[in-house]
Every structure is written in structure tokens, then in C-alpha cells.
């Protein structure tokens, strides 16, 4: 049984064997992975020790105190939050050995080739085709969209249609796609902020060996659900200090710029400050539930709350800035490696937050999920359930 004391001992040993001051960043991260201290709840040999997930905090605190480098989790969020748990659950031993370590150390960045121009909320309707060549490699053709990090990614998790003659959920297969392969073309997708944080990805005759398939042929939807559920956990489980989110910048502006204050804005600001604090407490409560091993359904709602709050608060700040609110910092197209909701100025925050109710599941879809899975209300009548994908209206 791996307990707190044992993890502290192992962490101290890692630090003794690889002093952060004299060890290269990547070498330290590799050593940490090999010591099972990367994600302690993962199996031994794969960066973990099979310990309770809640004990990761023990390791993180010790390493932070020792000034050890971290693996820049924000830069590799898709790999950590989505690809890794899916590979762990459905991958072959070879795949786990090959992918998890460079994923965790950040040597290899991952992106997610799920959404398509014609399949957003109705993700299972996707049309990217993967056709097997005489029982050998798969040949993939199609287009993906909203792909964060595709311009820096080495690997992608990909879902594609392998059987158009069965209903949409049954004909999908899950692959690990090499982004450097011929036929993979990444084009920046410029957004309303002026930035190109996302990409379009065109797949033209991309050859994927069958050893890069994750899960059974035709079982890709079930595999994808693991990815999607982890995506929501990743979005909902963050820990924030008071004023740690979008309310922070506007509260600071309010305090520093008394000349901007009006009574109307004051009332709206206070209402949103309280709601942001309450949402923060809800997130903290969810975290405490997870840590004590009694996960609640609150996670499903957290993203809804943050999306609405981010939009309302950033909208308020543009208004608060008055004359300045008519300006924008810079429309030059940039290609950031990181998603940053609260960076730059108020106008940017306002525009970027519009994506919060779309990315990672639209608010409308999440409300349906809450209504059906949490409250147990009847599902929408489905007219596409028993229809072959090729016969669906498009």
C-alpha cells in the first residue's frame, strides 16, 4: 500500500538522485516518470505506482518546494487530460510504452482530431473516412476543425468512419495519428480575436498502420467517450484562489480606476463577483468530493457556470472601460501555443470567452446531459438511431 510517507520517501529519493539544480529539465522529468511520480495513480512502469489519485498532491507539493521543473501541464493539456487516460484504458502494452512517457514529459505534444465542419455537437455524425488496405494500413481522408495545438503537435487522437453502412455510433474507429505523416496538412484558423489559436486539419490519403488503432474496429465511439468524459473532468476540476478567474482583472480595474465607476456597473459587478465566488466554492467542493472518493455530478455543471460567468464578466469590463473599451490591443494574427482566457486586454477576453460556451461541448448539449443523466429526464426523440450513417440527412 503506497501511502503519504512512502511517496514522500520516494520523492526525497528522486530529488537526491537527480538534484534539480544540476539536472537538465528533460532528464529530471524522465527520471520522475521512471520513479512512478508522474501520475501516481497510473500503473507501475507507466509513470505511476497504482496509488490513490489524491496522493498526487503530496508529490507535487514536495517537488514544488524543492524547485523541481514541472512538465508545463498547460502546454500539454490535451495529451495529459484526454489522450493519456484513453491510451491507458484502451491501448496495447506497446502503445502505452511508446506514448505515455514522451506525452507526460512534454517531448511530444498531442492534439485532438475529433470535430469536423459538419459534425460538431453531433460528433458521431463525423464523415472523415478510414479505409483498410487489404488487411494492412488504414488510408484516411477528410477534414477536421477547431484543432488546438495542431501546429505544434507531434501526435493526434483521431476518430474516423470505418463503416458507413451501420448507424453512426457503430461505424467509428479510434486511431493515433502521426502529425508528421505525408497527407496531414495543418492550416491556421483565424478567430474573432484575430488570433489563430485553432487549426483546420486536412487529411489526404494519410496512411496509419493498424498498430496505431486504439480499441476494436467499430468501437471508436466507446473509446471516444473516455476521452470526452476526461475532457470535462479536466475542465471542471481546476482549483482557483478567490478572484482567480475572469473576475480578477475586472475587480482590479475597479479598484485602480475609481473614475470609471458608476452605480449601475457597481450593482452588476457585485452580483457577478458573488456568482464567481460561489462558482469557485462549487469547484472547490467538487475537488474535495473527488479527493475523498465520493465524486458528485457537479462537474457536469462547472463548465456551464464558468462559460456564462466569463462572458458576462468580460462583457462588463469592456463597458466599464468606456472610451478605452472602444479600442483593441492588437488585431495582428498570432499563433499562440497556449489557450489563455484571461490574458491580454478586456476586449480580447470578451471575444475569447464567446468560445467558452462552444468548446468542449456547447452549453446546450451540456444542459441536455445534466437534464438526462443527472436529473433523469427523458431523452430527446432520436430519429437517427437505427439509420445507416450513409443514409442520414446531411
Amino acid at each position: 500500500m503506497t501511502d503519504t510517507a512512502e511517496l514522500q520517501r520516494r520523492t526525497a529519493q528522486l530529488l537526491a538522485d537527480h538534484p534539480p539544480a544540476t539536472t537538465g529539465r528533460l532528464d529530471f522529468l524522465k527520471a520522475r516518470f521512471d520513479a512512478g511520480l508522474a501520475w501516481v495513480h497510473y500503473p507501475e512502469g507507466l509513470g505511476g505506482l497504482g496509488a490513490p489519485r489524491s496522493l498526487q498532491a503530496v508529490v507535487d507539493a514536495e517537488l514544488e518546494a524543492a524547485g523541481a521543473p514541472d512538465n508545463d501541464p498547460r502546454r500539454i493539456g490535451i495529451g495529459l487530460g484526454m489522450a493519456a487516460p484513453t491510451i491507458l484504458k484502451y491501448g496495447t502494452d506497446e502503445q502505452k510504452q511508446r506514448f505515455l512517457r514522451p506525452l507526460w514529459t512534454g517531448e511530444e505534444v498531442w492534439c485532438q482530431l475529433f470535430s469536423e465542419p459538419g459534425a460538431g455537437s453531433d460528433l458521431a455524425a463525423l464523415g472523415t473516412r478510414a479505409v483498410r488496405e487489404d488487411g494492412g494500413d488504414w488510408i484516411v481522408n477528410g477534414q477536421k476543425v477547431w484543432t488546438s495545438s495542431a501546429h505544434v503537435a507531434r501526435w493526434a487522437i483521431l476518430i474516423a468512419r470505418t463503416d458507413p453502412d451501420v448507424p453512426k455510433h457503430a461505424g467509428i474507429t479510434y486511431f493515433l495519428c502521426d502529425m508528421t505523416d505525408p497527407g496531414v496538412e495543418v492550416r491556421p484558423l483565424r478567430q474573432i480575436t484575430g488570433e489563430a489559436e485553432f487549426n483546420e486539419v486536412f487529411l489526404t490519403g494519410v496512411r496509419i498502420p493498424d498498430t496505431r488503432r486504439l480499441g476494436e474496429v467499430g468501437a471508436g465511439w466507446r473509446v471516444a467517450l473516455t476521452t470526452l468524459n476526461n475532457e470535462r473532468v479536466a475542465i471542471g476540476g481546476m482549483r482557483l484562489p478567490r478572484e482567480g478567474g475572469m473576475i480578477g482583472p475586472v475587480a482590479r480595474t475597479w479598484r485602480e480606476r475609481p473614475e470609471l465607476r458608476t452605480h449601475d456597473l457597481h450593482q452588476r459587478l457585485l452580483k457577478l463577483w458573488v456568482e464567481a465566488e460561489v462558482a469557485r466554492l462549487t469547484g472547490e467542493r467538487l475537488r474535495q468530493q473527488l479527493a475523498s472518493g465520493q465524486p458528485g455530478p457537479e462537474g457536469a455543471g462547472m463548465k456551464l457556470a464558468f462559460a456564462r460567468l466569463n462572458q458576462e464578466i468580460s462583457g462588463l469590463e469592456v463597458e466599464l472601460r468606456g472610451e478605452e473599451g472602444l479600442l483593441y490591443d492588437d488585431w495582428t494574427m498570432r499563433r499562440p501555443e497556449l489557450v489563455d482566457f484571461t490574458g491580454r486586454d478586456a476586449g480580447y477576453r470578451y471575444l475569447r470567452s464567446k468560445g467558452n460556451s462552444i468548446e468542449g461541448g456547447t452549453s446546450e448539449v451540456l444542459l441536455n446531459i445534466v437534464a438526462e443523466r443527472v436529473l433523469g429526464l427523458p431523452s430527446e426523440p432520436r430519429t437517427d438511431k437505427d439509420v445507416a450513417w450513409k443514409d442520414l440527412a446531411r
Partner: protein
């Protein structure tokens, strides 16, 4: 660190209270009682306080209390809120008790703990923590004046009365005239308390700090009552909409209604975190002013909306006197004023976190 979960003991307490309320309190009985001369359920109160000892949760064990904390009292209030129970728990076992704790009135606390006495703080229910409150005249050891909007005064044996010398006095209910007012919330009735030369007796202590502490605890734990109300409204509405058929479908399957209920669920989840934070802060004395103000700035909106949504989605049935949703709505709306409106608490937040008005 703030503990926002429920302990096993707290869950056990919840089960005990819920079982009792399920057995002893049916909505038809509550409605009938509101139309009688005795709106409070005295028998239920006796069980809660005598057999279960719940009146003494906040009172130290050496004074015959339970020596528990606001966290446990909050759980009791969630259940009482869910049932819209007509008992003077919040007013006597929380608000009056806190005033007596502030004054160190040990003998009276022992009487409250053993449930031989029900007390009411003679300050209008609408008063926010830190707000001004009326006091009666003190002359030659006698108290004279009229105080209005005193919640649960009709059930009280003992009134805690602020006087114009700045003191708080314990006055026997038999020495004053308590006149019921027609109250919007029938289950937490208000009354006018008239003192015509009532003997002041012992000065318990300074009224200012005692009343502030009492009202803060009342406001903070009211959020748990509001949580219970809102949860009941949501649960009942979901249940009803699954059963109710229209247009050859279960009404709960229509997306417009599903989204409204999902939104409401989200607000209830948020309210739970806010209410737990307030109860925990009151128990530990850390950050209690802000946690209470945040909870009260948020809670009223959710509880009222939950009750209003429940009424609308029960449609014609919700508009009737027989269906208990009106008890819930009346309590939720009255609660939105009790111990300070959301606006008053937002103003408190503005001061506490330095977000000043223009």
C-alpha cells in the same frame, strides 16, 4: 481549509431529522395548521428539541447543550427548509441562542438547551446583520414601546429586547402583549410585541454586538434553509414532469423544460457550496462575515426562482391551495427579505472585498 462536504455524523443527523419530518409532517397538515390559531407544530418541536436535543446544538455541553457547531445546525435547517416546517428553530435555536451566547447568559442558555423555553430576538426579521434596529424605552426599570415584525414571537416564552440604554433585556412573554400580524409566510409568522411598562429584569449585555452576532448566524444558516427549499422544489418538479404527460409525451422530455431544470440544478449545486461555506465559516469563526454575505447575496435568488419555477412547471396544479408549492414560494420569498436582502448583503460584500461604490 474550508470543509464543504458533509461528515458521516452530519449525514446521520440529516437522516434522523428527515425520517422524523417524513413521519410527522404532511403538507396538508401544515396547510391546515396555518389557518388555525396555532400555526406552529408544538408536538413536532417537542420531539425535535426534547427527544433529539436539537435546540441545544450550538450550546456548550456544560450548559446541557450538544456542543455541536453551525455545520450540524445547518444540516437540520436544510431538512426543516425542505419540509417548510412550522417550528421556531432558526429563530430560537440559532438567532436567540447566538444572542444569549454573546451575552454569556448561561442560565437562559440551559433553559433553551433543555427546550423548556422558546426564545425570540425582538428585532424585525428583515434586519440585516450590522443594520440599525429599533429599541424600546427604558425608564425606572420598566420597558415601554412597540416592536414589529418579530418572527415566531407567538411561540416564544422569552423575548430578548433591545432597550434605548444600549442593553439587551430578557423579558418574559407573559409581561408583554404579542399580537399576530398577517404574515406573507404563514409558516414563520410575524407578530407585534408591545411592552407597556414591562419589568426589565436583568440586563443580559450590550445589544449591539449580541444582535449583530445573532443576525449574522441567522443570515448564514438561513442559506441552508433556502438550500433545502430549493432542493425540494427542484426534486418535486423533476418528479412531476417525468410523470405528467401532454402531447403524447412526458412533459419532462421537452428540451425547453429540460434546460430550465438543468439550469436550476446548477444553481442549487452552487447554493450548496455557498451554504456549506457559510456554515463552516460560522463554525470556525474564519471569514464568517464574507462567507455569510456571499451566501445571502446568492441564496435568495436561487430559492425564489426554484419555487417560482416549481409553481410554473406544475402549472394549474401549482396555483392551488392544496398543493404545497405555495408554502415553499411564500417561505422562499419571505426568506429573501429575512436577515437582509441580497442587495444588503452585496453592499456588505463591496465593503469586505474593497469593491467600493462610485
Amino acid at each position: 481549509m474550508t470543509d464543504l462536504l458533509y461528515s458521516e455524523e452530519e449525514e446521520a443527523l440529516r437522516s434522523a431529522v428527515r425520517d422524523l419530518l417524513t413521519d410527522r409532517l404532511d403538507p396538508a397538515g401544515v396547510i391546515a395548521r396555518t389557518e388555525s390559531d396555532a400555526p406552529h407544530d408544538v408536538a413536532l418541536w417537542k420531539t425535535l428539541t426534547g427527544d433529539m436535543g436539537l435546540a441545544g446544538l450550538l450550546i456548550p455541553e456544560e450548559l446541557d447543550g450538544q456542543g455541536a457547531t453551525h455545520r450540524e445546525a445547518a444540516v437540520v435547517l436544510e431538512e426543516l427548509g425542505r419540509a417548510v416546517a412550522p417550528v421556531p428553530y432558526l429563530t430560537s435555536a440559532v438567532v436567540a441562542t447566538e444572542a444569549l451566547l454573546a451575552c454569556g447568559a448561561d442560565d437562559l442558555l440551559a433553559r433553551l438547551a433543555s427546550a423548556t423555553t422558546v426564545a425570540a430576538l425582538a428585532v424585525g426579521l428583515h434586519t440585516a446583520p450590522g443594520a440599525d434596529f429599533p429599541a424600546v424605552r427604558l425608564e425606572n426599570g420598566l420597558l415601554s414601546g412597540e416592536l414589529t415584525g418579530i418572527a415566531d414571537a407567538v411561540a416564544a416564552d422569552l423575548l430578548l429586547v433591545p432597550a434605548d440604554d444600549g442593553g439587551l433585556y430578557a423579558v418574559d412573554a407573559s409581561a408583554v402583549t404579542v399580537t399576530p400580524q398577517v404574515s406573507f409566510d404563514l409558516t414563520r409568522p410575524l407578530a407585534t410585541v408591545t411592552l407597556a411598562g414591562a419589568p426589565a429584569g436583568v440586563r443580559l449585555g450590550d445589544a449591539g454586538p449580541a444582535v449583530r452576532r445573532a443576525l449574522r448566524a441567522g443570515a448564514g444558516l438561513l442559506a441552508s434553509e433556502q438550500l433545502g427549499l430549493a432542493e425540494w422544489a427542484l426534486t418535486e418538479t423533476v418528479r412531476y414532469l417525468k410523470e405528467r404527460k401532454q402531447f403524447n409525451r412526458s412533459v419532462g422530455g421537452f428540451q425547453a423544460l429540460k434546460h430550465r431544470l438543468a439550469q436550476l440544478w446548477l444553481e442549487v449545486v452552487n447554493l450548496r457550496a455557498a451554504a456549506r461555506a457559510a456554515a463552516d465559516a460560522l463554525a470556525n469563526g474564519e471569514d464568517a462575515d464574507l462567507a455569510t454575505a456571499v451566501a445571502q447575496a446568492y441564496a435568495a435568488g436561487v430559492a425564489v426562482r426554484a419555487a417560482e419555477e416549481a409553481l410554473q412547471l406544475h402549472a394549474g396544479l401549482g396555483m392551488t391551495w392544496e398543493h404545497p408549492v405555495h408554502l415553499c414560494l411564500k417561505r422562499a420569498k419571505a426568506d429573501s427579505i429575512a436577515y437582509g436582502t441580497a442587495g444588503a448583503h452585496r453592499a456588505a460584500v463591496a465593503e469586505l472585498v474593497d469593491l467600493r461604490a462610485p
